[in-house]
Symmetry: C2
Subunit: 133 residues, 2 copies
DNA sequence: ATAAAGGTTCCAGAGAGGGGAAGGTCAAGG
DNA sequence: CCTTGACCTTCCCCTCTCTGGAACCTTTAT
């Protein structure tokens, strides 16, 4: 199957698939005309990548997960460890964003938002930077 | 004041300050020796940038906010609009990450995580990609 | 025969800087 | 006076994950 078919069935843009080949995540065969020829197994890997990326795993995470995916002997504990580390990162990001949300929504609430120039948001942003702890 | 002082008092690395000058966010004067000479007003702008970036505003957001910051006549409503749009983006990201967290933690819970190869996480990731609605 | 729809490669750019080389300058110490 | 070390300068390449476009080739349909 050609790259267009692989793209529509994996959920990844063709451009992205070519990029994944570039960085060695997939290794499709080639037809005599030079077109990439994807096998079922490569298509599965592409879907795997699409889902992993959608869950926010980095490319390097994906490389690790793919290796584990292809290793019939691997322990599920190895996979779980990667997943759990990623879950921690996700939770850290959520915490971070929530903190931003609090700060920003306080600033917004304090601002009249009318035609007058006085603005607590800008005042808040111009305060001395917090300790870079 | 030199860039090192400006860096330590604004909370931004010197590299970042040079970059901000490159893209026109700050315009420090120069000493005769070629060193950047920051005035108080530029230092305030750098602190403003540091805080805005820490709240996740993009550089372009910062450019807008900085222009509003410097415009004594601007309406606070203009600032509030930028801030509110950004708050919406933050909230969307939080929603997104929470959804990832749900999916991932379900997968992790289902996985024994021992020495055996059977792994629901990889199985979950290898399913057909969801409709790209 | 031709045109459209696919495929190929390569180059450039995004955002937001970071790393490090090669070199100029400044202040202190011997 | 000379050196050492800490600054500062510019410059270019690297990151990460693609995305867009140009120039070109192949297949399919009309």
């Amino acid at each position: 199957m050609n790259i267009g078919y692989a793209a529509s069935h994996s959920g990844l843009p063709a451009k992205t698939i070519r990029y994944y080949e570039d960085i060695g995540l997939v290794k499709p065969l080639r037809d005599t005309n030079g077109y990439r020829a994807f096998q079922e197994s490569e298509l599965h890997k592409l879907s795997f990548l699409a889902r992993s990326r959608a869950l926010g795993f980095t490319i390097e995470d994906c490389r690790t997960l793919l290796a584990l995916y292809e290793d019939q002997e691997r322990a599920s504990g190895d996979v779980k460890m990667v997943a759990r580390q990623h879950l921690e990162k996700i939770e850290a990001k959520i915490t971070d964003l929530k903190s931003m949300r609090e700060t920003l929504s306080h600033l917004i609430e304090a601002c009249a938002g009318d035609h007058r120039p006085d603005c607590p948001i800008l005042k808040g942003l111009s305060k001395v930077a917090p300790e870079t702890a």
